[in-house]
């Protein structure tokens, strides 16, 4: 019995650390709607600075003072980030802020190694909480008890802050209805800045408090960020109590789950999230999001098919691309093939995001299913390459059909997180089912047949498929189906009122996007000659998101440019420098500031402006558009 009590307390201690970080993320998201990918980075910096401070200043005062100082210092950094970077981009399409914070995260990962060195750092133990307390023969670390108390205390302080102060009232009001708060004359700028700083403070505090039990290293951020997102979503976005309950739920399930299934940890949080979201689409304590008040017609230039001249230009571009094998070497051709494949992957996600208005955080699942489809068909069934290429993407289709059915029942970030959960479940199956998938050692020896083996032939194949896919998806955008889908994106209520079956439209779009991603995956398997669970992983899903956002989510085919720029730059930087993350992250942050609508989106806007300058009538029209933003 004593054992179960102690295991329960241990779970509570884990929950407390998780809650500290999750609460900060929840507050930030609730008010600013920023999906703060850099939250893990702030957590990590908190731990690093706390390590330095507690190492320098001895004694109990040095330790606890160091922890608090570290959290304050990081909050200050957060303040600067918000004022210098995020303030510039609140008005741009949702999720674009994700791109900015992703760029920051990349930079921080390299910066901490530059500043603190590559070795794992082990901080000192907390004075007064070094040992363990005996509980009927079971030892409970006293620091765990401290954390168990701290969790509810922080929860209580936050509750008081939100319920009993004017600031808290404003924050709650903004969480519920941002536009109304603005309309009532509240200075949103400072509200957002302060909320962001408080959220970052909590993240850094969570990180700093880990130093007596963890090692401080440069991958801490990735270790926690996804888990924290999951906790926030299970609890319900913007709900602090929800975050607390979710943290306890996840930690306890893990603590007791490993007694029965020792391998459960790897997937547990995602299973819990999938179940919770299917049963309660807004998390345990969340409320349905109020219908957005945006009027898309004002912020988006109406889409139109390419004009005759633009078609000719695109064709010319394609022809130029097709002549690459005449002058480029084998390496350049292989890189170009990889870029073409990522164009396929990016446009498939773009279709879902831009046309369907559904941002998937787990799109790599369908890409990866395509690669595994090839691996199974070619290795186990021994089918010829052309048959594999035709059938392999069906794995992506099947996955998208099943998961898409559940996912489209949700919307917004909940949709995104459910797709992430599904992707992680698929990933862990590939990772765990060693006898079939080879686990993380993957499946090797999937090289293309002779007719496609030479780099130039494979490049033409990849380029041709990429062009076909892009054209096909553009045709779909301007088909009746595309119009109906855009209607569901712009106004769910109105589209349903005119008789569009929104869920079916979105499901169809999901399946189309998943299958297309599978096509990209199928080619990728042949390009690399091997298949690994990485092909289903979070980082690939994030890459796809970044490509789409970089191109511009309000464009018809911006993802093509986004994929080319991001992938080419990434490959080039990784080849040139060990600090590729620092440079790439800096570049992304710069792009966010310079091209706030994505590369293609901003260029289109500039062109539009140029055009509208000449006929005086349209300038009038252009101006209200600006101010409406």
């Amino acid at each position: 019995m004593a054992f179960y009590v102690v295991q329960f307390l241990t779970g509570l201690a884990s929950a407390a650390s998780l809650f500290l970080v999750a609460s900060g993320l929840s507050i930030i998201f609730g008010v600013t709607r920023i999906v703060n990918f850099a939250h893990g980075a702030f957590y990590m910096i908190g731990a690093y600075i706390a390590f330095t401070l507690t190492d320098r200043f001895s004694g109990a005062f040095g330790f606890w003072g160091g922890i608090v100082m570290a959290a304050l210092a990081v909050a200050l950094i957060g303040l600067l980030v918000e004022m210098v970077l995020l303030r510039r981009i609140y008005h741009v399409p949702e999720l674009f802020q994700l791109l900015a914070t992703f760029g920051l995260t990349l930079m921080v990962q390299d910066l901490v190694v530059l500043i603190w060195g590559p070795d794992d750092l082990v901080g000192r133990r907390a004075p007064g909480f070094k040992g363990a307390v005996d509980f009927f023969g079971q030892a409970i670390p006293s620091y765990d008890l401290f954390l168990i108390v701290l969790g509810p205390v922080v929860l209580g302080v936050l509750w008081l802050l939100f319920q009993r102060t004017r600031w808290g009232v404003l924050v709650r009001a903004a969480t519920q209805d941002r536009d109304m708060v603005a309309a009532l004359g509240v200075n949103q700028k400072w509200l957002f800045t302060s909320v962001f700083a408080v959220g970052v403070f909590l993240a850094a505090l969570g990180g700093a408090l880990q130093i007596p039990r963890d090692a401080v290293h440069h991958a801490m951020d990735l270790r926690i960020i996804v888990e924290v997102f999951v906790v926030v979503v299970i609890g319900g976005l913007g709900s602090i109590v929800g975050a607390f309950v979710a943290a306890v739920l996840v930690s306890e399930l893990n603590a007791f789950g490993i007694l029965i299934f020792p391998k459960i940890s790897i997937i547990l949080v995602f299973l819990v999230m999938a179940v919770v979201l299917i049963v309660r689409p807004w998390g345990l304590f969340g409320k349905p999001e109020a219908a957005a008040r945006r009027t898309p017609g004002l912020t988006v230039n109406p889409w139109r098919p390419l004009t005759q001249n633009e078609r000719l230009a695109a064709l010319a571009g394609l022809i130029v691309a097709a002549t690459l094998p005449l002058f480029a070497g084998n390496y350049a051709l292989t890189v170009a093939s990889e870029i073409a494949i990522f164009v396929i992957f990016a446009v498939s996600l773009h279709f879902l995001m831009a046309v369907g208005g559904l941002a998937s955080f787990g799109h790599a699942a369908y890409f990866g299913l395509g690669t595994y489809g090839i691996a199974f068909l070619a290795k186990m069934a021994g089918l010829p390459m052309i048959v594999c290429l035709l059938l392999g993407p069906l794995m992506g289709l099947a996955g998208a059909a099943v998961f898409g059915f559940f996912a489209v029942q949700l919307s917004g970030v909940y949709f995104a997180m459910l797709t992430l959960a599904f992707a992680q479940i698929v990933w862990s199956i590939a990772f765990q089912w060693v006898s079939v998938t080879g686990g993380d050692n993957g499946i090797l020896g999937l090289w293309p047949e002779k007719w496609a083996a030479s780099p130039s032939h494979f490049y033409w194949l990849a380029l041709g498929v990429a062009a076909l896919v892009t054209i096909a998806l553009r045709i779909a955008v301007f088909s009746p189906f595309g119009y109906a889908l855009r209607a569901t994106r712009d106004s769910l209520l109105r589209s349903e009122a005119i008789g569009i079956n929104a869920k079916r439209m979105q499901w169809t779009a999901f399946v189309i996007a998943g299958t297309t991603a599978g096509v990209g995956g199928a080619l990728f398997a042949y390009l690399k000659g091997s298949v690994f669970p990485d092909n289903l992983g979070i980082s690939l899903s994030v890459d796809a998101l970044v490509m789409v956002l970089l191109g511009g989510v309000e464009t018809v085919s911006g993802a093509v440019i986004g994929a080319i720029v991001y992938k080419a730059l990434n490959i080039w930087l990784v080849s040139q420098t060990d600090l590729s993350k620092l440079v790439l992250g800096g570049f992304i942050v710069l792009i966010v500031v310079v091209f706030p609508k994505g590369i293609v989106g901003t260029l289109e806007m500039l062109l539009q402006r140029k055009r509208s300058v000449s006929p005086p009538g349209s300038t009038l029209l252009a101006k209200p558009i600006e101010s409406a933003e």
């Binding site: 054992f3 102690v6 295991q7 241990t10 779970g11 884990s14 590559p118 070795d119 794992d120 750092l121 082990v122 040992g131 363990a132 079971q138 030892a139 409970i140 670390p141 007596p212 039990r213 963890d214 090692a215 290293h217 991958a219 801490m220 888990e227 930690s251 603590a255 490993i258 007694l259 020792p262 391998k263 940890s265 790897i266 084998n330 390496y331 350049a332 292989t334 890189v335 686990g439 993380d440 050692n441 993957g442 090797l444 020896g445 090289w447 990728f524 690399k528 000659g529 091997s530 690994f532 990485d534 980082s539 490959i571 990784v574 080849s575 420098t577 060990d578 600090l579 590729s580 993350k581």
Partner: protein, 400 residues
């Protein structure tokens, strides 16, 4: 006038071109790939090691008079990126062979690439048994003692322990799984009386150490096998120390004696664990002294195991290139098979049968000295003594 200028220009171009070509001919390039950005703690000392080797080789006249150049690329910890890098090295840089890699899946990806493109590949770090056995190919050689070899070395010591009830803690991926599987198999062969009472599989890099330690303690084992390393190991050790998990229990642990993993533990270092590792401070052989002196003189830092691996990878590669006196992959394979080369840990041989080198490892016990973790009572175990019989190897390895 004009035609004469053209003529001079053409002659100059020819001259420059010719010179460039002759410089090219006097260089031999090795393409090196590793996870520099993902695992800097391991790859920084590794890089220092191979840079020292390059310097020494060129100071001694290069490879048959040609200058050795190592072109190094980062793989950002992803198999797909490693293949892009391998492709660049082979297609654009024109390297004579590939070397390096740390993670097992990346090693396998590059080895598959080498097999497909018919390029010689010397894997430095990956521990997976598959790379030389079940997924072995004729173009791939491996330097470090494999999972199997390290398990066999540990089993030799572990089987002498009185403990009968064993529990295992290993990261939940191929490395952890195969380490546990081999250890269990070899251990049960030697000690049929042993019971396996619990196993814990925390996700790599994400151990929730408290519950794991509690769960293991609840099974009340007499001995524990640990395969976690890096930050996971730190968390496990700290929780285990606080909760008294290691008190009166024997612990056998993979890799924990390597400075990369032992040094961060500082005063938390648990005492008396049986580990594999690299006690650079207590190795007293002329080969190692020479290496240690050169390394410390160049970097003003002590070597980690990664330094040895990096150093020996390039030294071995150079010996293979020198013996083959050619960059033809078939000739390189012929030169490498059965080749013996000196190393800071004594002479090693690349076996013809499975392309595994006989580099060994140190087995010893952890101890705490002046607030730092060290390995004591350590002995070097030669790799050749801890490999399965040739018949077994042949059964596992696919025919070329």
């Amino acid at each position: 006038m004009r035609s004469r200028n053209t003529f001079v220009g053409a002659a100059f171009a020819l001259l420059v071109g010719g010179m460039a070509q002759s410089v090219m001919a006097q260089e031999i390039k090795i393409g090196e790939i590793n996870s520099y950005s993902l695992l800097p703690a391991f790859t920084e000392p590794y890089r220092k090691g191979w840079q020292l080797a390059v310097e020494e080789i060129n100071a001694a006249g290069g490879i048959n008079g040609k200058k050795l150049v190592v072109v190094s690329k980062d793989d950002s910890g992803k198999p797909a990126d490693a293949q892009t890098a391998a492709n660049e090295l082979v297609s654009s840089e024109g390297v004579a062979m590939l070397a390096g890699t740390f993670l097992s899946n990346i090693g396998l990806a590059v080895s598959d690439f080498a097999n497909q493109k018919k390029v010689f590949f010397l894997a430095a770090e990956p521990l997976t048994d598959a790379i030389t056995w079940s997924k072995g190919n004729k173009y791939t050689f491996r330097l470090r003692p494999s999972n199997y070899m390290q398990a066999a070395m540990l089993v030799e010591a572990a089987s002498k322990l009185p403990a009968k009830r064993w529990a295992t803690i290993a990261p939940n991926y191929e490395y952890g799984q195969s380490a546990v599987a081999v250890f269990k198999k070899l251990m049960s062969e030697k000690r049929p009386d042993i019971q396996w009472v619990d196993e814990q599989w925390p996700p790599q890099g994400k151990i929730d150490a408290g519950p794991v330690v509690q769960a293991v303690a609840a099974a009340n084992p007499e001995a524990i096998l640990n395969v976690t390393f890096g930050a996971d190991l730190v968390k496990l050790v700290r929780e285990g120390n606080t909760r008294g998990l290691f008190k009166d229990r024997s612990v056998v642990s993979f890799l924990t004696g390597e400075p990369e993993y032992l040094d961060p533990l500082k005063e938390e270092t648990p005492e008396g664990w049986i580990v594999t590792g690299y006690p650079w401070y207590s190795i007293k052989t002329p080969e190692h002294d020479a290496f240690l002196k050169a390394y410390q003189a160049k970097y003003n830092d002590y070597p980690r195991l990664g330094s040895i691996v990096g150093y020996q990878t390039i030294k071995s590669a150079a010996a293979i290139l020198a013996k083959a006196n050619s960059t033809d992959p078939e000739k390189l394979i012929a030169a490498a098979e059965g080749l013996s080369v000196p190393s800071p840990l004594g002479e090693i041989t690349f076996r013809k049968i499975d392309h595994q080198s006989t580099l060994g490892a140190f087995v010893g016990k952890t101890a705490l000295k002046d607030g730092k973790g060290v390995m004591v009572d350590s002995a070097y175990k030669k790799g050749a003594d801890y490999l399965p019989s040739d018949a077994e190897v042949e059964k596992m390895r696919p025919k070329d």
